[in-house]
């Protein structure tokens, strides 16, 4: 479905200041030292003022014209807002610069009782918001675009070859650039029907590949995908409210209903939820949003409800909420078997208690603060562990303990001064942060090479050393003894 908003920007201005409705005004921005009109309202357009004119020329035509400043990117911002607003009708809405919206309405229209009523509802709501709007539904984006802008009576293009409906339309309806359009007009090709039946080779030679591509797009032979303003969530439940909702109890009830439905959907797909977003669409067009994250895949409605319940207070219902949308943007596989695997540490109830605890901690100090590590098959100390993606993830390989590793590993190795009797010998003493440590015993070296396929750098020769008091350190020499004196670092403390 393509929606054409020819006066979106000026309609928005008029909606904000209704007294402007009957007055001609334009929005102009400075370009090369002149004020060029970007948008003209319908009254001004009626007097022959259009975008692209200089504001001074327009004033000459219409002395009482009001020229307002135009902020760069305002059109796109406005269309994006409208596209987000349209998410109440379909999960896939895209902006279509410079003056339209695209909605993928597959599988949505039947909720409104058919495409005709669906389209009328959208048009009525947009008109109520104050926009002049035309919309057309067709099988392809190209055909819908053409019908919305050039169709005598834009409506619903019947399924089949959409090109049949486009035949009486001018060539511009195929989204051609100005050059091509002028060329066509010069040749007398005033309707799509007058050239569409020409052989493709002729069209390509005369007008280039661009025209053929546009024809293919309109006919549905070339794939064209709108870029949605918001990636649609696979797991999503919606609850329209017959009456606008304003109380916390009602929100909680809606939330419970949605969670139960979503968890049923997750169970069917064998998935668990890792994050959830509840969006509340208010009748004044505002969208209120709360989000939670969990530490492991969950599909227990009660637990999720407890997490979301804490945040219900953040929703400002305003005049009332007409639609709730619960989405699960991040999900992870959660089979019944895995639930039991995780429960090996205790009963499932205790396990839930742990997940609840971690969710609470994450809510207070941030989800990034909680980490669990798994072994990774690397020798380089920093890479020998990796973060576990979830609580249920089990190690794929065994933990290695054949080489000594310090219990405290500094995040960054720290420079030390050493005195070494001979190359490839452990140091006799080292100075760290101004303090001198005399080494009595040492083990090593253990050479750890950089993994060249991951990172280039010097090799490290690690030594385990013990000072006079018995404290043990992990030192390394960075690089071999070559032209330069290699540097030494302290990398950890042994227990």
């Amino acid at each position: 479905m393509s929606i054409w908003l020819p006066f979106a920007v000026t309609d928005k201005m008029t909606a904000l200041q209704p007294e402007r409705e009957k007055l001609p005004f334009v929005l102009a921005a400075a370009q090369r030292g002149r004020m060029i009109i970007q948008h003209a309202n319908p009254v001004a357009s009626g007097k022959g003022i259009c975008a692209g004119m200089a504001a001074a020329d327009a004033r000459a035509i219409l002395p009482d014209l009001e020229v307002l400043p135009y902020a760069e990117g305002f059109t796109e911002q406005l269309l994006r807002e409208l596209a987000l607003w349209c998410l109440r009708f379909t999960p896939v809405a895209a902006i279509d610069l410079p003056d339209g919206l695209l909605l993928d309405i597959s599988g949505c229209a039947h909720l409104w009782g058919g495409e005709a009523t669906y389209r009328e509802d959208i048009l009525a709501q947009l008109t109520w918001l104050g926009y002049r709007v035309r919309a057309a539904v067709a099988d392809t984006i190209g055909a819908a675009w053409a019908m919305a802008r050039f169709g005598a009576e834009p409506g619903i293009v019947p399924p089949g070859n959409p090109m049949d409906a486009l035949l009486p339309l001018p060539p511009e309806a195929l989204r051609l650039d100005t050059l091509l359009r002028d060329k066509m007009r010069k040749l007398g090709l005033r309707h799509i029907g007058s050239f569409i039946h020409m052989p493709r080779t002729v069209l390509r030679r005369r007008f280039g590949q661009a025209l053929l591509h546009r024809i293919d797009q309109a006919q549905g032979q070339a794939i064209e995908l709108p870029e949605p303003v918001q990636a649609p969530a696979t797991f999503c439940e919606r609850l329209p409210c017959p009456e606008p909702i304003r109380t916390a109890n009602a929100i909680a009830f809606a939330l419970k209903t949605l969670l139960e439905r979503l968890c049923r959907q997750l169970l069917r797909e064998g998935q668990g939820l890792r994050s959830a977003e509840l969006k509340a669409y208010r009748i004044d067009g505002n969208v209120q949003q709360i989000a939670i994250g969990t530490n492991r895949p969950v599909r227990n409605p009660m637990h999720l409800f407890k997490l979301l319940e804490q945040k219900i207070a953040c929703i400002a219902p305003g005049l009332g909420i007409e639609l709730f949308l619960l989405e699960a943007p991040v999900v992870a596989p959660l089979s019944v078997q895995q639930e039991t695997l995780w429960a090996a540490w205790g009963s499932n109830g205790e396990n839930t208690a742990l997940a609840h605890l971690l969710d609470r901690v994450a809510g207070r100090v941030g989800a990034g603060a909680i980490r669990r590590y798994l072994p990774a098959e690397h020798y380089w100390p920093g890479r020998s562990i990796k973060l576990a993606a979830s609580l249920a993830e089990t190690p794929a390989t065994d933990w290695r303990c054949d080489r000594p590793r310090p219990i405290y590993l500094l995040p960054e190795p720290e420079r030390i001064e050493v005195s070494v009797p001979l190359p490839d010998y452990p140091p006799l003493l080292f100075i760290h942060k101004g303090q001198r440590y005399k080494i009595t015993k040492a083990d090593g070296p253990e050479r750890i090479e950089q993994e060249w396929w991951l990172e280039q750098g010097l090799v490290r020769d690690y030594y385990v050393v013990e000072d006079e008091e018995g404290a043990r350190y992990w030192l390394f020499r960075s690089g071999r003894y070559e032209a330069d004196e290699p540097e030494w670092f302290l990398h950890g403390f042994f227990a």
Partner: protein
């Protein structure tokens, strides 16, 4: 001789009575957990390592802190048979691979980084209330009496064992913890005079223990677990005993 034995029995019976009045019960559950500390367990009431209690560890400097972390890891190895553990510290410095050496499964340890002391105490307390955990390790430098009392009350409900490590704490003050430990590194245990660093060895001082006898021991960590050389304050002569690991 006979008279002596009956006297001792009587004294033991009386001690048991006093302990049970003070809330120390030698339950079957606590008896099951063998920390492998051998002679050190004699210092505790009922001769068992108190689980479901808060233990406090003091350390100065990174060397002592690492030794303390190692000793705690050794204790956790025995405790974590029954569940996972939460290790809460202000910065992510623990290297999980090394924990394997101390007999615990590093992927069963959940690390939490909390920088503010207030959040840290909240997190430790919440974690101690969670019965699914076997133990909680918290690195809190400043622990006043009231917060420590809160932590102790939390574990009395949930029976989770808490280890509070206080690195760089100069004035420990008084706390409600059942014990106060200090672990200092000692020159390593090398077998038969072999060169090299050998097994780690610590001087473990139990400076305070509620209803028990404080003492000091030389404790090594070998492949088989703790190896305690009794060097308690009463008898200075080292007496090697191999503990079950």
């Amino acid at each position: 001789m006979n008279q002596c034995a009956t006297n001792r029995e009587q004294i033991q019976a009386l001690q048991q009575e006093i302990l049970s009045m003070q809330g120390f019960h030698a339950t079957a559950e606590t008896a099951q957990i063998d920390t492998g500390l051998g002679p050190i367990q004699q210092a505790f009431p009922n001769h068992t390592f108190p689980t479901g209690a808060i233990h406090e560890f003091l350390s100065l400097g990174p060397g002592q802190a690492a030794a303390t972390a190692g000793f705690i890891a050794g204790l956790l190895g025995a405790l974590m048979q029954k569940g996972p553990c939460l290790w809460i510290s202000p910065c992510p410095i623990i290297f999980p691979v090394a924990l394997k050496t101390f007999g615990l499964t590093p992927d069963q340890v959940i690390f939490t980084t909390v920088s503010r002391t207030k959040d840290m105490l909240w997190t430790v307390e919440e974690a101690l209330k969670c019965e699914a955990l076997a133990a909680v390790v918290g690195e809190v430098r400043d622990l006043g009496f009231t917060p420590s009392r809160r932590l102790q009350l939390a574990v009395e409900q949930s029976r989770v064992t808490g280890f509070i490590h206080r690195p760089g704490c100069v004035q420990p003050g008084s706390t409600a913890c059942v014990s106060r430990w200090q672990v200092r590194p000692l020159p390593g245990l090398s077998e038969d005079g072999l060169p090299g660093v050998g097994f780690p060895q610590w001087q473990v001082t139990l400076s305070k223990v509620r209803n028990g006898k404080p003492g000091a021991w030389q404790v090594g960590w070998t492949d088989t677990g703790f190896k305690v050389a009794a060097m308690s304050l009463q008898s200075r002569e080292p007496m090697f005993t191999q503990a079950a690991g």
